[in-house]
Amino acid sequence: MNPDRMQRIESLYGETLALPDGERKAFLDRACGDDRELKQELESLLAYQEQAESYMDRPAFHQVAQSLADGTGVLVDRMLGRYQLLSLVGRGGTASVYCAVDTRLNRLVAVKVLPAFIASDRERIERFENEARAVAVLNHPHICTLHDIGNEGEMYYLVFEYLVGEPLSDRLSRGALPLSDTLDYATQIVGALAYAHDQGIIHLDLKPSNIMLMRNTLKLFDFGIAELRYPDAPASPSVAAAGTPGYMSPEQMESKETDFRTDVFALGVVMYEMITGRFAFPSRGSLEAAVLNLKECPPPISKYQPDVPHEVEVLISRCLARNPSERWQSMSEVQGQLRCCKSGL
């Protein structure tokens, strides 16, 4: 391509763009005549117009600065306290997770490194430490144990029991689970939640990616620590309540008070997904979409699994009631219903 041709393309592009959508095609037909290559060129560029609107809206300098701010970085081979980081095993929108070795006890641990910027907010650090202390009390076969927290300069981290297994989310990406597995997993999840609720701790972000399927057992992780849910948000109470859009309860989305019944709702969403292999709220891509769809009801389970037992449908639909007072009022109620479901198998 030569510069003259490029000039022509650029000016035609500008003219096309100035027209309303409906007139563009006719304009291009007219302007390009039988130069089909020119027309193709313009059409292929137009396909990027929408994406281009927000492209490079921040100068390179800010992109680099932001990378620095986000950069919990690849810390492999480094020491954080007495933990030597061996490999990066996960990186969510939240924290980076490393497999590490505890050099004092010589065992494997999972180290979650929080984004560096939380260090700049005293209140957040305090809240984080308080929550971590509360969660550290939990000691249950189906809950991933929090061993330690610490910081190296501005880098705050949590040290968890290292779990070998497959997150439920990965399993679900291959499709629905058999009913018996669903009930078995649900029993373990509910057991863990009942125990935590007795200790006064609510998970608040129960979802398949926080459930690790291990050989013969499962464990829940990321319990009750707001920084693990939404660390890039300012420390306002409303956002502190936030979880993951697809699994959030209506009260979380509306920033109303949450309690243990918030976990009941999330349990319903997770069970729905285990049985049907589908998201209960597929349209909730983002928090905004989720809030817009607050009134949305998931399609009945029997639509996807016609032979689902009635007790199971009751269990799940009652978890998913919009109003917390219409849900199961405790995990032991859920446990009771689960027993009914199992006895019917």
Binding site: Y13, P59, F61, Q66, S67, D77, R78
Partner: protein, 192 residues
């Protein structure tokens, strides 16, 4: 490092513009320090979705760094242009060094300063834009210059127009076309 005085920066920019390559070595640490300042600000308050409208602000590095009083008025636009080039060089080098940094073999304590970045889309994007922009410059130098000034230099539309001595409408058109062209250049194959 002691705080650099604005007149030093201005002098370094002049030297660099006059062909003194070493002046860049003096500018680079200053720019890095500003990067860290801004990063710390990002760590605190600003969220990605409502920041930095292009509000006629020059890239704050050079606003802070350059002693504009000392720059004669006629030279202002020339300096914008030079600083955009300098920023491009420094940022691209920076992105490259971060992305290709070799990991040290020995374990040692970390501090924020020496944490290498993860493979970062922002940084790969900077390198990709830099390369694609050189191709664009061969076909359409002015459109490419608009990108250099806006994206690497952080100039507003108005400032870019001032530097290039064209209308703001022209800058907007060039800018828009360049973005579409670059996007297709960078992501086109995957889409096809």
């Amino acid at each position: 490092m002691p705080d650099a005085l604005p007149q030093d920066i201005t002098r370094l920019l002049r030297l660099w513009n006059a062909g003194n390559a070493e002046a860049l070595d003096g500018l680079t640490p200053l720019v890095y320090r500003e990067l860290h300042h801004l990063a710390v600000r990002y760590m605190g308050r600003e969220r990605p979705d409502h920041t930095l409208q292009a509000t006629g602000l020059v890239n704050e590095v050079f606003v802070r760094l350059i002693d504009w009083q000392k720059v004669e008025w006629q030279n202002r636009s020339h300096f914008f242009g030079v600083s955009a080039q300098v920023m491009r060089r420094i940022l691209v080098d920076y992105a490259r060094s971060r992305l290709y940094a070799k990991r040290g073999g020995n374990a040692r304590p970390v501090s924020l300063d020496d944490v290498p970045l993860p493979l970062d889309n922002n940084l790969t994007d900077i390198l990709a834009v830099d390369m694609a922009l050189s191709r664009l410059a061969a076909l359409n130098p002015r459109t490419a210059q608009v990108v250099e000034l806006r994206y690497f230099g952080g100039l507003s539309v108005e400032e870019t127009a001032e530097v290039l001595k064209v209308s703001t409408i022209t800058v907007i058109r060039n800018w828009n076309f360049a973005k579409v062209w670059l996007l297709r250049e960078l992501y086109g194959e995957q889409k096809a």
